[in-house]
């Protein structure tokens, strides 16, 4: 900011602090680009605008408290810097909270032991099916999937019963019990 602009900001903010509402527009026009630029140097673009707005509102809310002996630009930027720090702290806290929550949250899936057990059962079933005649294995797979081959219902049901009986027998041979 040029020294002339800095002097103008000092005068306008002093007038605003004294209650001169006519100084509001010039102060707004001067501060908004200044605060956006300042926040943009420290934050990503999409966050910078939000923080610049918060800083602008805070500057205006506190402008009646402005001590006219102080440098106006330093005063404004100190408020903006505080706002940027607050925003960063808020983001950091949010990240910490979300990572804590992720660590504590149960995912609803099976436990590792259950997964291993299911995997070994599937493998054993695949082995047993592979040892059955191909027609029996195809019948059982179609039954498990809910598919109905182009056969009369009673015929299909009998084939399923026969295939299941053979599978049970094979399972008993391999694993001792069902």
């Amino acid at each position: 900011m040029a020294s002339g602009e800095r002097g103008a900001l000092q005068e306008e903010l002093t007038a605003l602090a004294r209650g001169d509402r006519a100084a509001f527009d010039p102060v707004f026009r001067r501060l908004w680009p200044l605060l956006r630029g300042f926040a943009g140097r420290f934050l990503p673009l999409e966050e910078a605008d939000d923080v610049a707005q918060e800083a602008l509102l805070r500057v205006f809310a506190r402008s009646s408290e402005f001590d006219v002996r102080r440098d106006a630009l330093s005063w404004v930027l100190s408020i903006a810097a505080w706002q940027i720090r607050t925003h960063r702290a808020r983001i950091r806290r949010r990240r910490e909270d979300s990572s804590d929550a992720a660590a504590e949250r149960p995912d609803g899936g099976p436990s590792p032991e259950a997964t291993v057990l299911a995997r070994s059962l599937n493998a054993a079933l695949d082995r047993a099916l592979a040892q059955l005649p191909a027609a029996d294995a195809a019948t059982l797979i179609a039954y498990a999937r809910g598919e109905r081959p182009d056969l009369p219902g009673p015929t299909f049901r009998k084939r399923v019963e026969r295939a299941l009986a053979r599978l049970r027998a094979r399972w008993r041979i391999d694993h001792g019990s069902l």
Binding site: G19, F24, F60
Partner: protein, 181 residues
């Protein structure tokens, strides 16, 4: 990167609201501080309904001056400062000697006149930089309410003494300032 016109207009409105809210909060604090400062003048010597009205009026005038700003704020600040002495003098006298307060109040306007002289000097000195109706109306309203707190027990004579004291204290300062410029 350009910000669209409606967004900028909305932001400007929000900023204006924030500014007015800040001034209003400041006004409440200043009014409360003025009331607290003047409470001894009400509580020690003078717990009448009229004194309560003066106490409330003093706080409201100071708060309104702060809210309005510029000459009004400067005037009410000067008036409050000038009015505190005549407001608190009777309370201070009573704290020193309880009977003296009643005696001085009943014997004439001297206590109020003494406070008025001090108030006149302060007001004239503070009014040097800020002339005009806003300053003087704010200053006289704040001074009137504050000083009335101390002068109600002395009656009409007390107010006359106060007015005379303000003139006697303030006129020479104003005249000398006018002569210097």
């Amino acid at each position: 990167m350009a910000v669209s016109e409606p967004i900028q207009t909305g932001l400007k409105l929000a900023a204006r609201r924030a500014y007015e809210r800040g001034r209003f909060q400041g006004a409440l604090w200043r009014g409360a501080a003025a009331a607290i400062l003047a409470i001894p003048g009400f509580a020690v010597c003078n717990q009448t309904p009229w004194a309560g009205v003066c106490l409330a009026g003093f706080a409201i005038v100071v708060a309104a001056g702060r809210l309005r700003g510029l000459g009004y704020e400067e005037g009410t600040r000067a008036g409050a400062l000038a009015g505190i002495l005549p407001s608190l003098l009777p309370a201070a006298v009573r704290a020193f000697d309880p009977d003296l307060c009643v005696l001085l109040s009943s014997r004439g306007p001297w206590l109020c006149a003494a406070g008025g002289v001090a108030a006149g000097v302060i007001l004239a000195r503070r009014g040097r930089a800020a002339h005009g109706l806003p300053f003087w109306s704010g200053a006289l309203a704040a001074l009137g309410f504050a000083a009335a707190l101390g002068c109600i027990p002395a009656g009409a004579l007390g107010f006359a003494g106060l007015a005379a004291g303000v003139l006697v204290g303030g006129a020479p300062v104003l005249v000398s300032q006018r002569a210097a410029t």
